[in-house]
Amino acid sequence: MRYFDYSATTPIDKEVLDTYIKVENNYFANTTSLHSLGQKSNVLLEQASAEIKDLLGVKEHNIVYTSNATEANNLAIYGIAKKYSHGKLITSKIEHPSVYEVFKNLETEGYEVVYLDVDEKGIIDSNQLRKEMNKNTILVSIMWVNNIVGAIQPIKEVIDIVRKYPKAKLHVDAVQGVAKINPDFGFGEIDLLTISGHKIYGPKGIGALIYHQNIDLSKRLYGSSAQFGVKPGTISLALIVSLCKALKKFIPLWEKHYQYVFGLNRRFRNQLTNNEKIVFNSSLEASPYIINISLPHVNGETLVHILEEKEIYVSTGSACSSKLKKPEKTVYHITKSELLATTTIRISLSHLLLPTDIDEIAREIGAIANV
C-alpha cells in the first residue's frame, strides 16, 4: 500500500497514541468536577493549553478546543460576524468549504462578502485586499496554506493591511501549514487561528480555535461557562493532550521534514515534468507537501480509482468535497479551465514516504498519462 493523501488525514503517531491512552486511562475525571480527581484533570488541561500557547507563541490568546477545524472555522467566522447585524466580510475564492460555505451562508443573511481573486499560482492580490478594506470591514479570513494546490498566502502582508483597521479582525486557517511550513509571521499577530490534530499525526476529533483574549466571540451554542462559554460541553482531555503532544513532537521537526519532503516533491516533478499530457496546477513556490496535477484526458475520479487498483491512494481535490462531481473550485480559479478542474488529482506527501514510493507513483501516473 502506498498512501499519498496526507493532506486529507495522517495516521496517528505512536507516541501520540500512547499519550492518548495514558491520559484516557489515568485522567478520566471531568475537568470541571470539584473533587481532586477532577482538579487533577483540570491541571493537566491547563498544562496542555499553556504548552500549546508556548509552542505557537500565542501568550495573549485563548484556546477553544473543537471537534475539528470545520467547527473552529465556523466558530471564528460566525463568532465575529454575529456580533454585528451587518458589515463587510472579506475572504478568498479558494478557501476550504468550512470557511467558504460559511461566508456563502452569511451572504444570504445580508452581510456584504467579497471573495478575493487569486493568480495562476493561487495567491491572492494584496492590492485588491487593500482596496476592499474599509471602516465597515469586520472580518478578513484568509487560509495560510491552500489544501488543494498548496499555495502559500502572504499572511504577513495581510496582517499589515488588516491591522490598519482596528474594527476588522483577521482569521487564518492554518491547518495545512502548522508544523510543516515556517511562518514568515507570528501566530500571535493573528486574531483568530484554526489548527487541527489529525493533519499532523494527531488523533481525529480534535481541532482548536486560538483567538486573542480581547476578542469577545458571539455564542452559537448555549450551555455551561466551560471554554469561555463559546464551546460549552465536556471536553476530551485525552484528545487535547494528544494534540499538544503532536504539536510538541512535530513543530521542532518542521525544518528537517520540510527539507526531506521538498526533495520528494522535486523528485516527483523531475520524473513527470516533461510529460506533455500532465499539467502541474501547483506552482513551484507552493508547499512541497502538496502536488496538484491534471491529466486533461482522464477524469479525476477515474484516475483515483485506477491508482487505487494498484494500492496507491490519492485524492481528487479536497477529501471533504470530492464526492461532488463538480469542477474543483481552487483549480478552476487558478487555471480558469473547467477541463483541468475536473481532471485534477492531489498527491499529498509526508516525511513517512520513501523515495521509492515517489518513483512508483510517478511511474504509474506516467503510464496512465501515456495511454
Binding site: 470539584l34 481532586s36 482538579q39 483540570n42 491541571v43 498544562q47 504548552e51 493532550v241
Partner: protein, 405 residues
C-alpha cells in the same frame, strides 16, 4: 534604538555603613535575573548601574527590572560623544522618535559629572536646546512644565542622553532586613501585605491555615499561585509555604464556644501557632493583611484581644489602607485575578452571622477555656507541611509528579 539602560538605586542615601552591602545585593539581583539574556553586559559605578543592551529588546529587560526591589528608576539611554554636535544630533533623533513627530514642549537638563567638559550645566543645556530647536518642527521650550525632558548625563565613563525615565519598585533589596512570617489567607489583602513588606527587604515565609474538607485543594492551589507571583519579587524567586492543618481546632471552637466568638478564638489560635513557628525558625516578625475596621475581626478591640497571645511584633502594612487602594496595588503586582477566585478559605467557613465587634478579654478567655485548644494546637504544629515554591516551577496541589506531555 537604545544602547543601554541606566538604573538608579532606591532609598540607599539613608544608609551609610551598609551602603556597599546593599548595592552589592541589588547588583547581584539584577545580574542574576537578567542572566536569561546572555548578550547583556553590566557596569557598576557608585551611584548607577548600567545595562548594555547589545541588541536585546529593551522592553524585555524593563519587564525584569519591574520585579526587582531596591531600584528607584531606570532610563533608556543613547550613548553619544561628549561634544555638542554628537549630543544634539542623537537628541534630535530621539525626540522625533519618542514624540512621534508631534510638536511638544521640552527642556534640557544637564548633569555634569564629568567636570572636564568646558561649560557649566546651564550653559550646556542652553546650547543643546539651541541646536535642537530649529531641527524639530513645532518643538518649543518650556522650562517649568515641559512635556518632555531631555537629560544629558555627562560622566567620566561616558555621555548619555535620555528622555524616558520609568519608576522602579523602590524599597530595599530583599533579604537585607531579616525574616517575616506572612499570614496568607488567599484573599486580596495578604499578598499585598506580603509584597509591601518584601519590598522593604524582608525575607518572607508564608503560613496558611487549611481546613479540609471545609476548604478544598483549590483554595490551597490559590495560595500557592499567589505566592508564586510574589516569589517573582524575591532575589532567588523562592518562597517557603507552611500549611497548617487547622480543621480540628476550628471544629472544636465551632462545637464548644459561643458562636459570636468563633472568629476571635480562631485568630488567637492562628497567632499562637505563628508565634511558635517564629520562635522555632528564628523569624523576627509576623505580617498580616489586617486593615483597621475592614471586618469585625479587624476592629481595634478585636486586634487588641487577638494580639494578646503573642509578643512577636506584628506588622500590618495595610492597617491604614482603604480597600480600593489595596486592590490597586494587587492589580499592579498581578495577584488580583488569582485572589478573586471564588473558593472557601479557613476564614469564610463557620463564620457566624453576627460576629462580636468589641470582644472583651475576660469573655474571650472564658470561651477559649471551654474548647481545650492547647493539645490541638500542639498537634497542628507537629503536622505542618512545608512546601518550597519557586516562581520558575509551577507547583500543583493535585499532582505529585508532573505529567510529561
Amino acid at each position: 534604538m537604545y544602547d543601554l539602560i541606566m538604573v538608579r538605586y532606591g532609598e540607599m542615601t539613608l544608609k551609610k555603613k551598609n551602603y556597599r552591602q546593599f548595592l552589592q545585593k541589588i547588583a547581584d539581583n539584577i545580574i542574576n535575573k537578567c542572566s536569561v539574556y546572555p548578550e547583556l553586559t553590566f557596569r557598576r559605578t557608585d551611584y548607577r548601574f548600567y545595562i548594555n543592551l547589545n541588541g536585546v529588546d529593551y522592553s524585555k529587560v524593563i519587564n525584569i527590572l519591574d520585579t526587582i526591589v531596591g531600584l528607584w528608576s531606570y532610563s533608556l539611554c543613547k550613548r553619544t560623544e561628549p561634544n555638542y554636535e554628537s549630543i544634539s544630533e542623537e537628541a534630535i533623533k530621539l525626540i522625533k522618535e519618542v514624540s512621534c513627530g508631534k510638536p511638544k514642549t521640552f527642556k534640557v537638563a544637564t548633569n555634569r559629572g564629568n567636570k572636564s567638559f568646558p561649560a557649566t550645566s546651564i550653559e550646556i543645556s542652553q546650547e543643546v536646546a539651541r541646536r535642537i530647536l530649529p531641527n524639530v518642527e513645532g518643538l518649543k521650550v518650556d522650562v517649568h512644565n515641559p512635556d518632555l525632558t531631555l537629560d544629558v548625563d555627562l560622566r567620566y565613563e561616558g555621555t548619555y542622553i535620555f528622555v524616558q525615565t520609568m519608576k522602579g519598585l523602590g524599597g530595599y533589596p530583599s533579604g537585607i532586613a531579616g525574616k517575616g512570617l506572612l499570614m496568607m489567607s488567599g484573599g486580596i489583602d495578604s499578598p499585598v501585605a506580603g509584597f509591601l513588606t518584601l519590598r522593604k527587604g524582608v525575607n518572607i515565609t508564608a503560613i496558611h491555615y487549611a481546613s479540609p474538607p471545609y476548604t478544598s485543594g483549590k483554595s490551597l492551589q490559590k495560595v500557592v499561585d499567589l505566592l508564586e507571583v510574589l516569589a517573582n519579587y524575591t532575589t532567588d524567586g523562592k518562597i517557603k509555604l507552611l500549611v497548617v492543618p487547622f480543621t480540628k481546632i476550628q471544629d472544636a471552637i465551632h462545637t464548644q464556644a459561643n458562636q459570636t466568638y468563633m472568629v476571635t478564638l480562631m485568630r488567637r489560635a492562628m497567632y499562637k501557632i505563628a508565634s511558635d513557628i517564629c520562635r522555632k525558625q528564628n523569624i523576627d516578625i509576623i505580617i498580616n493583611g489586617e486593615s483597621i475596621g475592614q471586618v469585625a475581626s479587624q476592629t481595634l478591640e478585636s486586634i487588641k484581644v487577638v494580639n494578646e497571645v503573642t509578643n512577636v511584633p506584628i506588622i500590618r502594612p495595610l492597617a491604614t489602607y482603604d480597600k480600593e487602594e489595596i486592590v490597586e496595588v494587587s492589580r499592579k503586582i498581578k495577584t488580583y485575578d488569582i485572589s478573586i477566585r471564588p473558593y472557601e478559605d479557613c476564614c469564610t467557613v463557620f463564620v457566624p452571622e453576627h460576629p462580636i465587634i468589641k470582644p472583651r478579654i475576660d469573655r474571650v478567655i472564658y470561651e477559649e477555656n471551654k474548647c481545650n485548644l492547647e493539645p490541638l494546637i500542639t498537634e497542628a504544629i507537629e503536622n505542618i507541611e512545608e512546601v518550597n515554591l519557586d516562581c520558575f516551577k509551577k507547583y500543583s496541589v493535585y499532582q505529585e509528579e508532573n505529567f510529561e506531555i
